[in-house]
Assembly symmetry: C2
Homo-oligomer: 323 residues x 2
């Protein structure tokens, strides 16, 4: 029998999952669309993912009729048999990890949802639910670009902008909305934000916003990747938009670095595919705002869109103390 | 015998100290000028303060000839006898508390100073050295305005601007320069700062800077308290300068609140004597930059310039586990 866990990253549009051994080997992976009406259909989808991963990973799933806790794992049935001990689930929005409550997720359509109750009806294995961004950082800290760092600010730039932190080498949970740096106002006269304010960082510096602003500015279509290509090609409108995004990010990141003594700003999300075109000016803008001794490393995350599912698996390992 | 500790707050111009019981009673206090050439003369001054406090507090000091550890405290000599078990010392600048090293203090003239060695030659009692701002927050957390809060950003506005934080109810040490928010650039074209950059928060929003900027702007003398009086009286120049300071503070504080999930921004230092003239617009400016669910309380510290010495005493209690 192999000592494994399942990690599931529930996104607004798709669910990525992984069957992971304690030593960090991936035995199976899965990606599927997030069900419409996720608030009702997510539990069954999660159960189906676990079954499917275990089958593909060479084992058997713990079905509802044979539910058992992590201390009740059966003796190995033979070489290659896989029985996950726990499941970790990363979800977006505002998550109260201590109470295991989904405070709010616009994408998944829930509000103050008891996640243990909602998913527990469908999952026979013990599970823990975490915040997707904090899961991503956990994966980068254990398996990716934040290894060996104890004070890390992880900033994924995707549909939105969020953050998670390592403090003293440990994932910082704090209050449920800790990390919501996407909703710091950087331009009071800026674009309206879904949160009700105007000019939030997310309306300027997310991959989504860069694409939208480009379309609004030029009347041409094009996502953030297209804007990045035009920046590299020297397009002045694209450069101006890109520059604004980077300055806004630096204005929000720098105070956090100074207050927290961050040593590494780890940039993730889709926008980081732009590479040095993003990282070099962002590093320069952050450093220009901080006294020399405080200047952090600014580096790309290394696990891409697998960070969330890997981190959810690691969360279940670390929460469950699987030996 | 009374179970007591000594707390000493070493400032650039004066040293405040306190003899504190475990139950929070102050038995004696002392304020004296910081010796010139503090890097050499501070140790003897600290020893003299301990002796003086203990005499005034009704007890005897542990002189060099009778040094003993916290477990070797003598039996009580009689009612009212006071023998401090430990000393806590708060110092300014960049402090590495884990290694007990004074990384840098411009005011006290030291650089990478082994504080245990430097002070241990003169102090016969066990002692611990901490950062003055973190000591101040510890006092506010245990005895002052931060009681009952677990996620706190403490921002004293005095000669400079600094910060300390409670995370999960515990004082956050992190890397030595964590908290140096005074050296986040808020205006790249602003005044030169002692750190070598221009337009640091400290050059706009410290009590010292407000006085200096007022003098430079008007050619009239006047400190921050005078500027506050003029703000209250409706002076447009004073209001503009005050407003700039508050906007700069809010721009630096808000990202930290969002990233860390701060529930209370506790404002201290000399500038907080301006009361609601400072706190109301600062609260408004911070709240305007954050989505409603994230908006923290913004309140004044309550211990004034005693916070540092009280906190140093508490640090020695918490570090030493005095029962």
């Amino acid at each position: 029998m192999t000592d494994v866990v399942v990690g599931i990253d529930v996104g607004g549009t798709r669910i990525k999952s992984v069957l992971l051994t304690r030593s960090g080997d991936v035995l199976a992976e899965d990606t599927r669309p997030t069900p419409a009406d996720a608030s009702v259909r997510l539990g069954p989808a999660l159960a189906d993912i676990v079954t499917s991963l275990v089958e593909r990973g060479g084992g058997e799933s713990g079905g509802p009729s044979e539910a058992r806790g992590p201390g009740e794992v059966r003796e190995p049935g033979g070489p290659g048999e896989v029985r996950p001990a726990r499941v970790g689930i990363g979800v977006p929005g505002i998550v109260d990890e201590q109470r295991q409550v989904g405070v709010r997720s616009a994408n998944l359509g829930w509000h103050d949802l008891d996640l243990q109750r909602a998913f527990g009806e469908h999952l026979s294995l013990p599970f823990v639910v975490g915040h997707d961004v904090r899961c991503g950082l956990l994966a980068e800290a254990r398996l990716g670009a934040a290894q060996g760092c104890t004070e890390v600010l992880f900033v994924p730039l995707g549909t939105g902008v969020a953050a998670a932190q390592l403090v003293g080498g440990r994932l910082w949970h704090g209050r449920p909305w800790a990390g919501e740096i996407g909703h710091v106002v950087v331009d009071p006269d800026g674009d309206p934000c879904a949160c009700g304010l105007r000019g939030c960082l997310e309306t300027v510096a997310s991959a989504g916003a860069i694409g939208r602003r480009w379309s609004a500015l030029t009347g041409r279509g094009g996502d953030a990747a297209e804007v990045a290509r035009l920046v590299a090609a020297g397009d002045q409108q694209a450069i101006s938009l890109w520059h604004n995004a980077i300055e806004a990010l630096a204005a929000v990141i720098s105070p956090v670095v100074a207050a927290n003594g961050t040593q590494l700003v780890l940039v993730g999300g889709g926008l980081v595919r732009a590479g040095d075109l993003l990282l070099d000016p962002l590093r320069e803008a952050v450093h220009a705002r901080l006294a020399p001794a405080m200047r952090p490393a600014v580096a790309p995350a290394s696990l891409g869109d697998r960070a969330g599912s890997l981190g959810a698996a690691l969360l279940s390992l670390e929460a469950g103390g699987v030996a």
